[in-house]
Amino acid sequence: MAHKVILVSCVSGMATAETTAAKIRKIAAERKWDVSVKVAEFRKLKEAVPGCDVLVQIAPSDPTDYGIPKISGVPFLTGFELDKTIQALDEIINAEPSTKPVESE
């Protein structure tokens, strides 16, 4: 499995993104994902995306297509439908290196 980079972003890259990143690191360790987790503030998202494989975005509402799969990070904060979100992330992490993303169910 190729190493993947998860990019977590919120408005300022402060509380919510750091908290979400911590949760994802823990889940990644449990599931033995070969990943690193980076945090970026929204304003610097475009510069941060290159080299990353998946974007976990919490806020703001943002329709931009960054060219990598994007999932909502809110379930990492609330636990609400977290299983689905972890499953979606798992599929991206374990996708073959050449495949672009990602059938969501």
Binding site: V11, S12, G13, M14, A15, T16, E18, T19, A21, A22, K23, R25, K26, E30, Q57, I58, A59, P60, S61, S72, V74, F76, L77, T78, G79, F80, L82
Partner: protein, 177 residues
């Protein structure tokens, strides 16, 4: 991030729960007509107690308007208003348990709303240092029955104890991993 579990533990005890959570910053039975009133009340508590600059109130109101922080959970909806660290003096969390749900914007949306019953106002200085604690706070939202229990607290001391208990439970669960 500290990888050594002992480091995490000592950080928790020295700069963690005891310094961030304060009985006098936990308000129960809060009557508020709208989210602006809730934020004003909590920001005023933080300011009076010396945790934030006077500018924090306007900053947190502006930020909530632009980037709302309401969150649906499985049980009781919460909000996590916060703002930039230049308005912060010392890290803390102020809590308002609302007498009636108050409509907040939903985090990550333009126009969705959520009826919030508990508000955690975060005064955060260095997210790297406070992330362990914040992550545990958020984990308590996922403990079945915890937010309804917190909501039912009749006074600040009870709510404070529920929060400490839940955070300790999460900390112990992390150690078992």
């Amino acid at each position: 991030m500290a990888n050594n579990p002992n480091e995490i533990k000592s950080e928790t005890h020295s700069t963690g729960v005891s310094n961030l959570l304060h009985k006098e910053l936990i308000l129960v039975g809060v009557e508020a007509a709208n989210w602006q009133e809730v934020l004003t009340l909590l920001a005023d508590q933080l300011y009076q107690a010396g945790y934030v600059h006077e500018s924090y109130l306007q900053a947190v109101l502006n930020r909530e308007r632009q980037f709302p922080t309401g969150l649906r959970t499985a049980e009781v909806a919460v909000a996590l208003p916060h703002t930039e660290k230049e308005h912060v003096l010392k890290p803390a969390v102020a809590v308002a348990i609302l007498a009636h749900p108050v409509t907040f914007g939903e985090m990550g949306t333009e126009d969705q709303t959520v009826p919030v019953e508990i508000v955690f106002m975060l005064s955060i200085l260095e997210p790297d240092e406070q992330v362990t604690w914040l992550s545990r706070l958020v984990s308590t939202f996922q403990l079945e029955g915890f937010l309804p229990l917190l909501k039912s607290a009749v006074d600040s001391a009870t709510a404070y104890q529920h929060l400490l208990d839940a955070l300790e439970f999460i900390r112990l669960a992390e150690e078992e991993d």
